[in-house]
């Protein structure tokens, strides 16, 4: 018996959400009185794999020949490795949601996504985010095996140093897809994982005014985001759209600049721990949801904010 965790990597590196999933798996293993085994797909160095031992992994099985985006192959290998596990943990990513549901059919397991709390016993009952974070749903697994996908920035990192072994598997498998390459913008912080997100709305009046949003994000080490109308009119790329039908943000700090705070927008961002609204309209709904606010013109407030943050960062 062990808790199995899939440790998703990108370009050979684990993300914070991976370590969160590992922390979650480790805490679940404590509840179940067992240990944590990790599965890593694609090429990840031993140095990177060793980081998993900081969060309670006692063994990692590294399968370099499997492309994680090939869900037919990746679910097959994880299925082969899960025979001894009643709980399999993923981070709640788009890629995980290609693999985990397939795996659940293969091993006759339940599959619960958006998970935000731990089970208290081997009868798996826990909380998940539902209705685009407008609600929390308590669910119970009816199957002997359960697959859990943990919402990023919801559970936290729990350091638990253990000694870990690395096992290499030369298992090879591929499904029917042909992968023709990736395009990634390097250096950008991903919205779903960022600790701080700086977001702009129509109040910024045009794409030419995004320089100060990017500068504020840079001094804070934050990701940039935008509201739905801004993405729809093409001021910013769709990948930056946050809200109910865009990306979900669960950052430590969310700064909304020139965003009124429509219910659809708030639904996607209100899992953030602290929210700041900057808006000229004192009646903007965002002020009801925010922790801190400034009623004022973004074009005056944001440059001052950048200066003040630079002062404390130096």
């Amino acid at each position: 018996m062990s808790v199995l965790v899939y440790t998703e990597s990108w370009a050979g590196s684990f993300r914070k959400s991976t370590f969160e999933a590992v922390s979650y798996a480790s805490e679940t293993a404590k509840v179940l009185g067992t240990e944590v085994v990790a599965v890593s797909l694609e090429n990840v160095s031993d140095e990177e794999l060793n980081k998993l031992s900081n969060y309670g992994v006692s063994k990692v099985i590294s399968v370099e020949n499997i492309n994680k985006g090939d869900s037919q192959a990746s679910s097959k290998i994880i299925s082969d490795l899960s025979s001894d596990s009643n709980v399999v943990v993923f981070s709640n990513t788009h890629t995980a949601k290609m693999i985990a549901p397939r795996l659940s059919i293969k091993i006759n397991a339940s599959c619960i996504t958006n998970v935000i709390s731990l089970t208290s016993s081997s009868e798996i009952t826990l909380n998940r985010k539902s209705f685009s974070t407008k609600a929390i749903e308590t669910v119970k697994s009816n199957a002997e095996k359960t697959i859990l996908c943990i919402a990023p920035n919801s559970y936290g990192l729990i350091v638990n140093n253990v000694s870990m072994s690395i096992e290499k598997s030369d298992f090879s498998e591929s499904g029917s897809l042909t992968f023709e390459g990736q395009e990634t913008s390097s250096g950008k912080i991903s919205i779903s994982e960022a600790e701080i997100v700086v977001s702009g709305g129509r109040g910024l009046k045009g794409p030419e005014n995004w320089g100060m949003i990017e500068e504020l994000a840079e001094v804070l080490g934050a990701a940039t985001a935008c509201s739905k109308p801004v993405a729809d009119i093409g001021w910013r790329p769709h990948a930056e759209h946050v809200g109910q039908t865009g990306k979900v943000v669960a950052s430590d700090l969310y700064i909304a600049i020139g965003i009124s705070g429509a219910i659809q927008h708030l639904a996607g961002v209100n899992s953030s721990k602290v929210m700041v609204a900057i808006n000229t309209d004192p009646e903007a709904p965002f002020f009801k949801a925010a922790d801190y606010g400034i009623v004022g013109d973004a074009f005056e407030v944001v440059p001052k904010l950048i200066e003040e943050i630079k002062k404390i960062k130096n």
Partner: protein
């Protein structure tokens, strides 16, 4: 080309969410239902593909008779026929079983679902169907073109995109990017009239098996009042974020 689009009937995005029956059921009172936005992108893409290559566009929804207005809207937008599996969806698995059984008995070249429904946010039905049918699957699909028997796909990945090709049939979990917001179609009067007479077939579910039970619902804690800082005193905000909220 025969295309199946899986459609979920969901509360409008502006809905206030409440629960009833001791917080065990979603309160549908006063709720306006719409085509799940992720499914609507897929439906629109299916329309564009059908107009280019010909063929038939079928939609399928799992639900009781109350979902039919949303299905009629999809027919008014342009789907040719509709299948309703007469069952109140109990969990994702039960939905995936019914849809995959329908697909098995019919020939589809392309199956389009949304990457998730905006009510329960499970996001697992399309991948479950792909496994039940042993088909390739792409999630968070933001690009799809079909040439002959090959699909050229783009999926959103962390910080970028990945280009993929696949033989048909394939199943995708779509989202915005599949089509632009401006390409979404509003049903016209002719479409609405036609939708009333287009076939909407009701089939009975074949399984009662579930994997997950919903126990209860609650709402996230309400936030306290917003602390307003004067716009001439931005340093105070920075001080609060640093020393009170401790987030910078």
């Amino acid at each position: 080309m025969n295309i199946l689009v899986c459609i979920s009937s969901v509360p409008d995005t502006t809905s206030k969410i409440n629960f009833t029956n001791n917080d065990t059921e979603f309160d549908v009172n006063g709720i306006q239902f719409v085509i799940n936005p992720y499914d609507e992108f897929g439906l629109t893409k299916a329309m564009i593909l059908k107009e280019k290559t010909g063929g038939k566009l079928t939609i399928i929804t799992v639900g009781d008779a109350t979902v039919e207005p949303v299905m009629r809207k999809a027919l008014a937008i342009g789907a040719d026929d509709a299948i309703r599996v007469n069952m109140n969806a109990k969990d994702s698995f039960s939905v995936a079983i019914e849809i995959s059984k329908y697909i098995k008995g019919n020939n589809f070249d392309l199956i389009i679902a949304g990457r998730e429904s905006i009510d329960y946010n499970g996001g697992v039905v399309p991948a479950m169907i792909s496994e039940m049918l042993d088909l390739p699957f792409i999630n968070a699909c933001i690009g799809l073109e079909v040439e002959e028997n090959t699909a050229k796909l783009i999926r959103e990945i962390d910080g970028g995109k990945e280009m993929i090709s696949s033989d048909l049939p394939i199943i995708i979990g779509g989202q915005k990017g599949l089509v632009k917001e401006s390409e979404l179609r509003i049903p016209n009067m002719r479409g609405i009239m036609q939708s009333r007479t287009k076939p909407l077939q009701v089939i009975e579910p074949s399984s009662t098996e579930t994997k997950v039970s919903s126990v209860s619902f609650s709402k996230p804690e309400e936030k306290g009042a917003c602390k307003l800082v004067d716009s001439s005193n931005v340093s105070e905000l920075v001080d609060l974020l640093q020393n009170e909220a401790k987030v910078i």
